[in-house]
Structures are given as C-alpha cells and as structure tokens.
Symmetry: C2
Subunit: 197 residues, 2 copies
DNA sequence: GTCTATACCAGGATAGAC
DNA sequence: GTCTATCCTGGTATAGAC
C-alpha cells in the first residue's frame, strides 16, 4: 500500500469526522443524520461510505476526538508550573473544555448514549478513570509541595480526595448543559470554596 | 363528562405509562419503540393512541414519574427527624433513588435527551433546582441545630454549600451509570469524608 | 475515487372493521 | 373502545455509471 494513499485516506477520514462534529454540534449527537453529515462535508454518500463502514463508526470517531482533547488537558494538569491551587484546578479544566467544545451539552449526550452503546461506554469509562487519576496525581504533588507530606501519605490523600474533584467537574458539565440560569463563575466560586485544601 | 370515565381514562394512561417505563428500563430511553411499549402493555396500537397523542407524550409522562418520586424524597429530607448528618445525607438520597429506579442509567439518558428536548429540559431544570434548594434548606437547619448559627447566617452557608452536595449526587449518578467498577460505598465514603460539616 | 439514484428497513401513526 | 392491517416518512446503506 503506497504511503501517499495512506495519508490521503487518513486526511479524508479526518475531514469527514470534522464535518460530523459540526453536524453533531448543530443537531445533537443522535439527531444528526447521515444526510446532515453528507451536506456538511460537501462530499457524497458514496464517498463517505468508502472511508467509514457506517454511521456508528463515524460517531465513535467523533466521540474519540472530543474526549481526546480532554485527556491531553487533564494529563498536562499535574505537570503545570506554577501549579494552580486546588481551588483553581477545576476552573482551569472547565475553561479549557468550554474553549474546545463551546458547550457541554454534547458531553451529556455522549454519556447518555454511552449507557447503551458498549463502545462509547468503554470510551467514557476510560476517560473518567484517567481524569480521576490525573486529579489524584495533581493533588498528591500539591500536598507534597505545599504541606510537606511524604509521597505515600500525599498519594493516599490525593486518591481519597480525587473523587470529589471529579464530581465537581462532572456536575459542572451537567448543570451547565441543563440549567438555563447556570453561571459558571458562581458555581465555581461556591464549589471550590468548599473543596478540601 | 361522567366521573367514572375520567377515572378509567386516568387509570388507563397510568397503565400505559407503567408499561412504557418497563420497556424503557429494558431497552433504553430512546431505543424503546412504540412496538415495545405496545407489547409490554398488552394493548394494541390503536388503544394506546386513544390515550396519548404520540410517543413523545408517553415519554414525557414516564420522565415525570421518574423524577416525581425523587422530588418527594428530596423535600422530605429537611423534615427528617432525627436529622441525618451532612456526611449521610447524600447516601440516604442515593439509596432511595436506587431502590426506586434500580439503576441510574435511565437518569443519565434522560439528561442526554433533555439537552435537545425542551420539555424534558424544563423538567430537569425544575428538579435540579428543587434538589439544590432542598439541600440548602437541610443544611441551613443543620447549621442552626448543630452549630447554633443564626437563621440568616445558617441559610447563607447552606445556599453556599448546597451546590457541592448537588454535585456529589449528580456525579454519583453519572459514575454509577458509566463505570463498570463503580462501588457506591467507596464513592460515598470518599466523597462524604471531604464534604463540609 | 466519487457521484446520483435508489433499494430497503424501522418505526410512528392512522383507517376502518368490529 | 379496541383491534388488525397498513400507510408513510425518514434514514441508512448500496448499486452502478462515470
């Protein structure tokens, strides 16, 4: 298989996935039809089916792209310097997410789909697990640096506290998607004030 | 309109809604088809369309039933005696929910649908708002009783802390629906340990 | 490789008999 | 009021020409 053709193929798949993402943003995760994706991409049905086996394959690609960006952010978190304090770390992550996604409804829809779609579920499980792990690692480092805890103590505390930070992030997503009067700043102020330090 | 007929009609609608709930539990919120509901109810298509204008009306009725039970629990929370401590209150609520619903996936699916369905969204907004209010009221009372705060101080603190308790509840729902290895007890232990007292 | 046209299917809703 | 049979729409996927 010639090298150029492989690259072309990958670029084309990417192009289709990007178009699908735009369609999904406009119409919703499951309401976006192949016709929408076709129109958005400017390509034809036949062309698209040359690169993807079907709609679900496209949807999974899109979902992977959405959470892939999140994972990068998350795993960069523990490496940031200067390290943001725990009260800020949820804010930083949520702001990055909003910049990247525009809004959070698409994530809530993904979660809903994931309940019945095994592939999406596996994706969500993986990402949530990694997010929790990244929080734990960040918190562990923070407690070492700021409170002088020994590494093992700090890690135990981090693992223990991480679920609450994960909860604050997930609830941000849900509330920002569903509450008309949701105010990100008020939410972050109230929640971070009561997170452990 | 004769009285008996009205009651009959209401009972029939209820019967259909119950059947729909069973279908939704088995198949998922949007995957459940009219054929499923028809089969589950033992009635015929024609009969059902005599009581509901269409599938979406049935779905909205089902959703209302699901969250209606939640609201009762929630508003009973502040009136409980003896009052459970903050570390227990999330647990109590989540256990009630699990008993009533069996699992939480159905709620996550509802949230996902609510992103694009205005009626479901209104329902979700209402319930989340009330849940937050009930937490605030409970916390206010708690701080008055246990810490001897003045009512206005206690209420301010309650309003301030409520979003974090709401977050803990929402995240319980999401994680329990999506993480294969989710352990309710471990989650509750970790989260409640770090909630404010 | 890509297009157009179309086959095919699932699912919601209705018509008309009883 | 209720049932059966059927219509119709919308949506995915494919066939065949270029």
């Amino acid at each position: 298989m010639p090298r150029v053709s492989e690259e072309y193929r990958a670029a084309r798949r990417r192009e289709i996935a990007d178009a699908a993402l735009r369609a999904v943003r406009r119409k919703g995760f499951q309401a976006a039809s192949m016709a929408d994706i076709i129109a958005e991409s400017g390509m034809s049905a036949g062309a698209i089916y040359g690169y993807f086996a079907g709609k679900s394959e496209i949807v999974h690609e899109v979902a992977g792209g959405i959470v892939g960006g999140r994972l990068d952010d998350v795993e960069r978190l523990a490496a940031t310097d200067p390290m943001p304090p725990p009260s800020e770390v949820v804010r930083v992550l949520m702001q990055g997410m909003l910049e990247d996604l525009g809004e959070t409804g698409i994530l809530v829809q993904m979660w809903g789909e994931a309940v019945t779609d095994p592939a999406l579920r596996a994706l969500a499980t993986d990402v949530l697990g990694r997010l929790r792990g990244a929080y734990a690692q960040y918190l562990s480092l923070w407690h070492q640096r700021e409170h002088g805890l020994a590494p093992d103590e700090a890690l135990a505390l981090g693992v223990d506290q991480a679920p609450l930070f994960l909860a604050a992030s997930q609830a941000f997503v849900v509330q920002s998607a569903l509450l008309d009067d949701f105010d990100a700043e008020v939410y972050l102020a109230r929640v971070t004030r009561h997170l452990p330090r």
